[in-house]
């Protein structure tokens, strides 16, 4: 027992973290200024807006103008080294040897049993440098996966701030903010642009199914980036939004969220909750011809071969206009066959849509005569509705501007 001086300074300095249970994002001052609703929720330990001023209008900002959503709380890992490509190729489902420098892809990674640990986006920043963005934390898994590879892995969630700029006018905002050359970014491209003597990484990616970009800067340059976008965006209807609006857009785009639409394998306390990629609609990531081994390959291929996949994730279109969130799905209105994990009335498609997990063969080979039972609470009484549901392809909303090249002013 001696004095404080023996404590490593960084560890000592961090002692006080307990006074602030929710971290402020690097953009927090700007969000606070706009957050008229004071409607915050906790996202990965950060204080994040559920809604800033009007949930519904925030959604229309995505579909009609340019919406800014703070993605700083997203967990980020920097993966760097001569073996980074080989390492990620073994770690993740998709073929990383086919991911060019300056490209991004949506991927997922599994444990030995082929159960999905998480999904996320992989950014190839250089031949030997990547960024992996995801919902959950995986450092032990990432480090243990690095045994036998010359690669360094660094968790950089707090160090890197991120913004999603999404919507029809998002590109023109970029252009007017001086991101010269941003018009050359095709969907899933990324490039660095100068900012404040440093740089900002801009990728043409997003979680809305719309034209959009994601921008990453060192946390210290966060506010100036925000101000730069808002200055340019004023005339293009730029608005900051909260998660509720984003969630509507992502459901329309048919995108899934870890631990909302499926349980991640290292967190599932109930062992039957884990899912293979083919069970949550990520089967497209699996390439039987991929040359390299990847985690879970044995199990995934065996499940396909032996037809032991038990579940399937589908898009549903449901009669009527009452959202079916967390409704039970039935076959012939009798047999319970699954659960809706996300549902909204889609303002863009004018359809009642849902994402659901069903027990095969329902949703796979048996797609007729499916029903959902909706319990709609109305003035302290449940209105119980049994509604027909039809399996439909995702995305529910497909916008040409998402991939238009060059991007225009929509």
């Amino acid at each position: 027992m001696t004095t404080d001086s023996m404590i490593p300074p960084a560890r000592h300095a961090a002692q006080d973290h307990f006074r602030t249970l929710r971290l402020a994002s690097p953009f927090q001052p700007r969000l606070e200024a706009l957050g008229r609703q004071e409607d915050w929720y906790t996202w990965a330990g950060y204080k994040a807006p559920q809604s800033l001023w009007d949930e519904e209008l925030e959604f229309f900002a995505i579909r009609s103008q340019a919406a800014v959503f703070d993605i700083s709380p997203m967990v980020k890992y920097r993966i760097e080294g001569p073996d980074a490509e080989a390492y990620l190729d073994r770690l993740t489902l998709r073929d990383v040897t086919k991911l060019g420098v300056g490209r991004v892809h949506y991927t997922a990674w599994c444990d030995d049993e082929g159960h999905v640990l998480d999904d996320g986006t992989l950014f190839r920043l250089a031949a030997d440098r990547f960024r992996l963005c995801c919902q959950e934390r995986h450092l032990p898994w990432l480090l243990d996966s690095a045994i036998g590879y010359d690669v360094a892995i660094e968790e950089e969630t707090e160090a890197v701030a991120g913004l999603a700029l999404q919507g029809p006018t998002s590109w023109v905002v970029l252009r007017d903010a001086g991101f010269a050359g941003s018009e050359r970014l095709k969907a899933f491209d990324l490039a660095d642009f100068p900012h404040e003597g440093g740089s900002v990484t801009v990728s043409r990616t997003g979680f809305t199914g719309d034209l959009g970009y994601e921008l990453f800067v060192p946390a210290g340059a966060a506010l100036s980036l925000w101000d730069r976008l808002f200055a340019a965006g004023r005339v293009h209807g730029i608005r900051a939004i909260g998660y509720a609006a984003l969630n509507r857009a992502r459901i329309e785009a048919g995108l899934i969220v870890a631990n909302a639409d499926f349980a991640t394998a290292e967190h599932a306390v109930r062992a039957d909750r884990v899912r293979q990629p083919d069970e949550i609609g990520l089967g497209f990531m699996i390439d039987a011809a991929k040359a390299g081994h990847y985690n879970g390959r044995r199990a995934i291929e065996a499940a396909r071969r032996n037809k032991t996949l038990r579940r399937i994730l589908v898009g549903l279109e449901i009669e009527g206009n009452v959202p079916a969130e967390h409704a039970i799905v039935y076959h012939r209105a009798k047999k319970e066959v699954g659960l809706v994990s996300a549902a909204i009335w889609s303002p863009t498609a004018k359809r009642n849509i849902a994402i659901a997990s069903l027990e095969r063969p329902y949703g796979d080979t048996v797609v007729d005569d499916l029903w959902v039972e909706i319990y709609a609470m109305r003035e302290l009484q449940y209105q119980k509705l049994m509604k027909r549901a039809k399996v439909v392809p995702r995305p529910f909303v497909k916008l040409a501007r998402r991939t238009a090249s060059p991007p225009g002013i929509f």
């Binding site: 027992m1 001696t2 004095t3 404080d4 001086s5 023996m6 404590i7 560890r11 000592h12 961090a14 002692q15 006080d16 973290h17 307990f18 006074r19 249970l21 929710r22 971290l23 906790t42 990965a44 330990g45 049993e113 959950e136 934390r137 995986h138 450092l139 032990p140 480090l143 968790e155 290292e266 967190h267 599932a268 306390v269 062992a271 039957d272």
Partner: protein
């Protein structure tokens, strides 16, 4: 002379739980207690004016909520307040805190290791999985694997099906939990010494094993399978000290018509024709009962209270071989002001929970080496709490009660009985460790109660001072507890039952042995057990 339906020996928490259920089932029950106070090792006593001590057990988690509810204990004053923080002080002047908030907890671990911070989820998942597997077994009678009776076969099938229902990964995990040392187990998740020490302590509390001994991973589970209001693994303080548990039980018991006699030490169980028919008290008085339930440990019950001739040789041999080595002591301290721990920042919630000074597995293990050699630990492991930071009923305002659970303390000192000088030396090892982290600590001490295994045995009747009434190793768990062939609360003597922590599922202030024994007794009496809840669902 009155003949009671049931006589329960010992007013500890299990004896009282048992008595409550029997009384509520319509029996006429007498509890006899040797001390002039009730509660056994779940007791709050005032030994110095203004202060109330939790003299033995000191925190609450394991007590089954099904029992609290069945016996209406909240109506009789039982309240459990969850912990707020907790810390392990490190030798470099820092500390590792345990925060209730998920993200604060992670950030605190990240101060020491980012990897460990992110490893916690998988660890928590695995521990939770295993607790969920075990929890439903707590309120069931263990089957006799050598028996062909339908009930035993049924229970064996239940266990087999439950195990077979696990995934391959969970099966492997179960085997690991039952056979590994907590040190090896934690090595598979964490890299930082203090973080491992922080978890390992649950693997050794009350146990005559070090963290490197196989089997301690199970002991950790034993301390995790409790809950506070549905929060599995959480611990809390009983408001008014642990005596609040037994006080509520006693009040519930009396309210349903039960009788408790204190200062009524049992010297012998009356056995006639192989059947128990009452007890003889130390003063020679005979009290008759149709059957007798002993809350005393299995050694005390059968080696002291029952004559040898009444017992089969095999049973006697097994009882003699029952392992009940004490491993811990207790130092209860009245403080005239709140002690300062300069390592903790102002406003830290860590003071409102359990604090420790053992920051590595190695120090814990070395403390155990002392025990093996028959000495109390020179550098002891202390589980220290100051309940008065959350409970205003145990000390005058501004003053505090501090409870220190101390490991290791052997049942005998280098083969001989403890002396008063040994006791003082033991206490000094504790005080000096605390004082090293809390300047001016000694000066705040108003009064101190020191209990080595000698005092635990003499006062509470725990043989060799073992707080669990028997070690929690595989050879003494489930159908082996207390001894093979007699793991269903019955004994070779007709009408003599066991209901203490010596029986399944073991020690801690859990109440499950008392409840399960009552279920078996009522079954033998062909009475319904409709007022007894089954285990809450684990969903």
């Amino acid at each position: 002379m009155k003949t009671w339906d049931a006589i329960v020996i010992g007013a500890g928490h299990n004896g009282l739980v048992n008595a409550c259920y029997l009384q509520r089932a319509g029996l006429d029950v007498l509890v006899v207690e040797k001390n002039d106070w009730i509660g056994g090792a779940a007791v709050s006593r005032s030994l110095t004016p203004g202060f109330l001590y939790s003299n033995c057990s000191y925190v609450c988690s394991l007590f089954r909520p099904e029992i609290m509810r069945d016996l209406e204990l909240p109506r009789y004053g039982l309240q459990v307040i969850p912990y707020e923080g907790g810390a392990v002080f490190t030798q470099d002047g820092d500390y590792l805190a345990n925060y209730r908030d998920y993200d604060a907890h992670r950030r605190e671990f990240a101060r020491f290791s980012k990897r460990d911070a992110e490893a916690y989820d998988r660890y928590a998942r695995d521990v939770t999985r295993q607790c969920r597997f075990i929890q439903p077994l707590l309120l069931r009678t263990a089957p006799d694997p050598t028996s062909f009776r339908p009930r035993d076969l049924g229970e064996l099938m239940y266990l087999g099906k439950k195990f077979a229902g696990l995934s391959a990964e969970e099966m492997a995990l179960t085997l690991r939990f039952w056979t590994m040392s907590i040190a090896d187990f934690l090595d598979e998740y964490f890299e930082t010494d203090v973080i491992k020490a922080n978890f390992a302590l649950s693997g050794i509390i009350g146990t005559a094993l070090g963290p490197m001994s196989p089997g301690t991973a199970y002991v950790l589970l034993h301390h995790y399978m409790g809950e506070v209001d549905g929060s599995v693994g959480a611990w809390g303080f009983a408001r008014g000290g642990m005596g609040a548990v037994t006080r509520a039980l006693a009040d519930s018991f009396r309210a349903s018509g039960g009788t408790i006699r204190t200062e009524a030490e049992v010297s012998r169980v009356l056995v006639r024709g192989g059947k128990a028919g009452g007890v003889v008290l130390a003063n020679g008085e005979e009290v008759r009962g149709r059957f007798v339930v002993s809350n005393a440990d299995v050694k005390r019950t059968f080696l002291k209270l029952v004559e040898e001739k009444e017992l089969p040789q095999t049973f006697l041999r097994r009882v003699k071989n029952f392992k009940i080595r004490g491993s811990s002591g207790k130092v209860n301290i009245a403080l005239d002001s709140m002690p300062e721990f300069p390592a903790l920042p102002e406003g830290s919630p860590c003071l409102q929970a359990d604090m420790h000074f053992t920051d590595s597995i190695e120090r814990m293990e070395r403390a155990y080496d002392d025990w093996k050699a028959g000495r109390w630990s020179a550098d002891p492991f202390i589980d220290m709490v100051i309940p008065t930071t959350l409970d205003p009923t145990m000390a005058p305002p501004g003053k505090h009660f501090m409870s220190c659970f101390v490991q290791y303390a052997p049942p005998k000192v280098e083969g001989r009985e403890w002396t008063d000088a040994d006791r003082d030396g033991f206490a000094e090892s504790v005080i000096s460790q605390i004082a090293a982290y809390s300047p001016g600590f000694r000066e705040r001490i108003v009064h101190m109660e020191v209990r080595t295994p000698r005092e635990l045995e003499a006062e509470v009747g725990l043989t060799e001072g073992n707080i669990f009434q028997g070690e929690l190793t595989f050879d003494q768990l489930l159908f082996n507890r207390p001894v093979p062939g007699y793991a269903q609360y019955r004994s070779p003597v007709g009408g003599l039952y066991m209901c203490g922590s010596s029986t399944h599922p073991g020690g801690g202030v859990m109440g499950a042995p008392g409840r399960n024994a009552a279920a078996e007794i009522l079954r033998d009496l062909k009475r319904g057990i409709k007022d007894m809840s089954g285990a809450h669902d684990v969903i």
